[in-house]
Subunit: 260 residues, 2 copies
Amino acid sequence: MKDRSLDTAVKDSKAPAIARAAAILRLLGHSEVPMGLQPIARELGLVPSTCLYVLRALVEEELVSLDPATKRYSLGSGVLSLARHRLQRDPFASLAQPVLADLASRFAVTCIGVEISGLERITAVAVAEGPGNFRLSTEVGSRFPALLSATGRCIAAFGDHALERLRPRFEKLRWDNPPDFALWSEQVLETRAQGYAADVGHYIAGVTVMAAPVYRTSESPSHALVALALSRTLDEEARLRLGKALVEGAQTVTRQLGNM
Amino acid sequence: MKDRSLDTAVKDSKAPAIARAAAILRLLGHSEVPMGLQPIARELGLVPSTCLYVLRALVEEELVSLDPATKRYSLGSGVLSLARHRLQRDPFASLAQPVLADLASRFAVTCIGVEISGLERITAVAVAEGPGNFRLSTEVGSRFPALLSATGRCIAAFGDHALERLRPRFEKLRWDNPPDFALWSEQVLETRAQGYAADVGHYIAGVTVMAAPVYRTSESPSHALVALALSRTLDEEARLRLGKALVEGAQTVTRQLGNM
DNA sequence: ATCTTTCATTCGATATAGTGAATGGCATTC
DNA sequence: GAATGCCATTCACTATATCGAATGAAAGAT
């Protein structure tokens, strides 16, 4: 499978080496094992010599590490250093962390703070796991399609998009139990009315996801507070209380983000 | 302060855009606040137009995020995603984690697993904090000069370097209580003899650091297991037991790394 | 052990990414 | 309210990063 995005990104850009470098980093990230030059070049449709030069530059910057014995490349320690700085400097992550921890322990759920970067993807930037022997679990850096599940309904409800325009993106989503577009639209309106979104078993069977929007500036939400739990541990009454708590937490964070 | 490494890295490379991109990422990582185009270009000695094209490419790849209102750039969520993949795929990090957690709780110390990438820097790739109200703390992705403290003595002792050749690098290190080269050399020999290194208050006053080497292939150590504690919580007897436990843990991890 | 295939790497020709001066927009100052 | 300064952005020229064939080295097959 060739990476389509690479072709177009390289073509129009004035710095195609960077699109190539990023594609290599992503490829190495998704690869189970370190890769040799040739497979990398083949997979991305790059000329091996160019690919080699890019890899060498990335190794030089410690974003990629090279096993000199096997000539295999993998992600380098530099990406960890960058991620650490990114997290330290992210005001949302710092502000959301204590709020998420509080929610996680009070409701015995897993809470994550996500960044909304457009309509494509959301990224987890903070996580807090509740007590209990079995928990749902993610890591910082996990990404999800933006319109999926409860966060998706949040984005649809509080970003000002005409619902019908989101339909093409909506159709591409993968759910365990997909709602049809009519039901989804209804749920989006409901979300708008109550201030938070709930997804009971649609995204993942047996799992309830709830989300409330956080705003950096005004306009559309820049982040969201999300709670995950096994559906059987959250009855309707608990969902109501959790939803209310999520909204309060999200408002707190929004307020704190504003005054900086 | 201009980034010297950039000048040389750009000159000899066949993919200078990548050296520039990496320098921008590092700069944004170290900056307390998001930066505009001009300050970035000035700081790195780049032509603004070039810098703009590089930034645009980085934004496109989500490695940098741009606030459209203020035109300020900061690190993007993509670096988090890369770091997550990096950690998931790192066999050392996965194998070391339980060993570190065990050591941390048994000795009430903070334990970290570090990757040794040459003689310049080491990077924390796994951390485990012990119990207790006050703990020393770091994050995954933190970097330290390679020859510093206990890990430095490990690298000097078990990598096959002539000690005298390490002297120039040694002289540049910053310690709270710097050992002179003679004392340090002696401690390196001691480290070689007992299999682990100890730094009692040299690197940071009042803090004891201990480290044992981990080997991916044979030859020089690729990683190390490190323990940190306030010196007053570790008497000599405890240091001996902890040192022994570190060596055992390091050997376990080394063995597991071999059989993959 | 020899042949074959696959890989990493080098090198010269050329399309193109980088340059720096020029433009237009925004905000702060007088 | 005008003017000044700084900033982000564009554009045409040229140094150079990219390409593709050729080389050498190392597995894998016979």
